[in-house]
Amino acid sequence: MFKKILIANRGEIAVRIMRTCREMGIQTVAVYSDADAAAAHVLEADEAVLLGESEPSKSYLNINQVIIAAEKTGAEAIHPGYGFLAENPDFAESCETSGITFIGPPSRVIRDLGNKTLARTMMEKAGVPVIPGMLEATTDPALLYQEAERMGYPVLVKAVAGGGGKGMRIVSEQEEMEEACLSAMSEAEKAFGNGSLYLEKCVESPRHVEFQILADQHGNVVHLFERECSIQRRHQKIIEETPSPAMTPSLQDAMGNAALSVALASGYVNAGTVEFLLEPSGQFYFLEVNTRLQVEHPITEMTTGIDLVRLQLEIATGKPLAFKQQDITRRGHAIECRIYAEDPEANFFPSPGLVLLHREPAGPGVRNDCGIYEGFEVPVEYDPILGKLIVMAGTREAARMRMTRALESYVILGIRTIIPFLIDILKSSEFAEGNTYTDFIDHNFRDWTQKMEDADLARIAYVVDEMTSSAKPSATAKERGWPTPWETLRAWKI
């Protein structure tokens, strides 16, 4: 096993990877940007190397700097986490040529599968059903308009190098097409360095169902069942669960086998995720492969009892899988909620800033993969994901109630989060009944607003604190030695 590895990521996923490393006796090297000098992943690591300025391109996306950090610290391998360089084939290749083990698939596999249209062609050949759409990506808006007319609206504009909803737009009519293409291209160019787009026919009322796969270097491939990730806002998953409420034994076999075919067709190695759209009819379509650890991997870990990061490391050292498909069992029901720093009262706009108070939920079956702490300033430069709250229980209903309790006891003050929105979804009868489609939010929560029932309780708490605080001066952020939120947002003009 490796003696030391570098984690080329930040926040909750870097912390999560380091925890497994520590449990395996592996030393960890964190990398960080100026904005992250006191970030949770820096505190968790055995060593930390400054990459550069806060702008991702100057730090977390800077391949050279990351490789130099690994060489300088003697790290034998690099775990890329998700996002940033995780699905960048050039990065994997740089690791390969520098003699550093990239903990993920070979660069060739990442390159093939990262090209969404090539991946579609490959899977079609392997007999895996794919959605009708363009097979060639383009940066020519005219070509996109023409294809959209041919296919008929609604269409899905997607970035060829995309993932996580970045550079993706649903366009329901011609008038919206121009701005959608321009803004998707700009987003994709920024996020992936590649603005090429392609179109897909919009599948109506689908579920997003994905299969976790594991493949070792010896040709052994297994899947670890599905995750349903239909609850999305702006094409970003916000709630994931396993099993999918729509799953049946025969569908699970069919989709599981399709996932294995995808892995075999692409020569996959290490952990990956095969994403499908599932129609109400039971028909499913291959969407794409995420060639890395998935944000929502913990729900698979909790229900299968398998530590995916540990297996990623073992596979990367050449160890064969110690189990076969039939040895893998799943138990109970797990739900994950992503905790985004977004203001549900201001159109879900991102809410960076100082975490003034942080009390985490706890208890049986509750796991909080968290990248913040009290006193941490959430930077404006990176994804708004603060962490993920995951629960497991015996049944879906017990898991739903457990998640509700956990969310209701999760205190984050100073920045805004989507927790109240998540609570209302979890409590809704639509979610309770498992009617989870990718248009769930638009359909059920389009006009959601913060419930004000408890506003009087908040007023009461305010006054009680005022009345009792003479004896016990309320510590403000300033008195606790922290800068106030507005002071810390570096160089903003107000």
Binding site: F349, P350, E408, L413, M452, A458, R459, T484
Partner: protein
């Protein structure tokens, strides 16, 4: 004790009466009456018993008020009597009709209009980004762009007016 406490756009009158016994207060908020027992658990945590039902409330000063957490929700509670008379409010995009201002600290990515352009209500004017998410600020009403007060890559914050628009057919004049 009397307070006027504002949460989001709602300001309510709060009357608090110490009801004799030491750890009990009677509250009248608007039309509602609440009997409240309390204990300060720590500097930032209160244990309240409101009409017999126990709740844990967390609170901390920040900005112009106190952030208060109850029952899974957090609120910014402000003392309306101590607020500056007029200031840039943290609001949804639809709520400050005359202002084209970002809802959060962010960076200008694209300016889609020029001075002198006629714009329609809802038309995209400026795209800003924060935490890798882009948002389009839209025209609050039909009108003419009289000034663009920012540039691409500028860092902007709530309250900054980025575009000035002269309303075409103002309703109240």
């Amino acid at each position: 004790m009397k307070y006027r406490l504002k949460i989001a756009q709602e300001t309510a009158d709060v009357d608090a009466f110490s009801s004799g016994s030491e750890q009990n207060i009677e509250f009248i908020i608007g039309e509602e009456t609440y009997h409240v027992g309390y204990r300060a658990v720590s500097n930032n945590c209160l244990h309240l018993v409101v009409d017999g039902k126990a709740i844990e409330a967390f609170h901390i000063r920040g900005g112009h008020g106190k952030h208060v957490f109850v029952n899974g929700r957090s609120f910014l509670v402000e003392d309306a009597d101590q607020l500056p008379l007029r200031r840039g409010r943290r609001t949804g995009i639809d709520q400050a009709p005359g202002d084209v201002t970002p809802p959060m600290p962010s960076v200008v990515v694209r300016i889609m209009v020029e001075e002198g352009d006629l714009v329609k209500k809802g038309q995209g004017l400026i795209v800003v980004t924060a935490m890798k998410m882009e948002t389009t600020l839209k025209a609050p009403y039909n009108g003419r762009v009289t000034a663009i007060k920012t540039t691409v890559d500028a860092k902007v914050a709530p309250g900054d007016i980025l575009v000035e628009i002269e309303e075409e057919e103002p309703e109240n004049e």
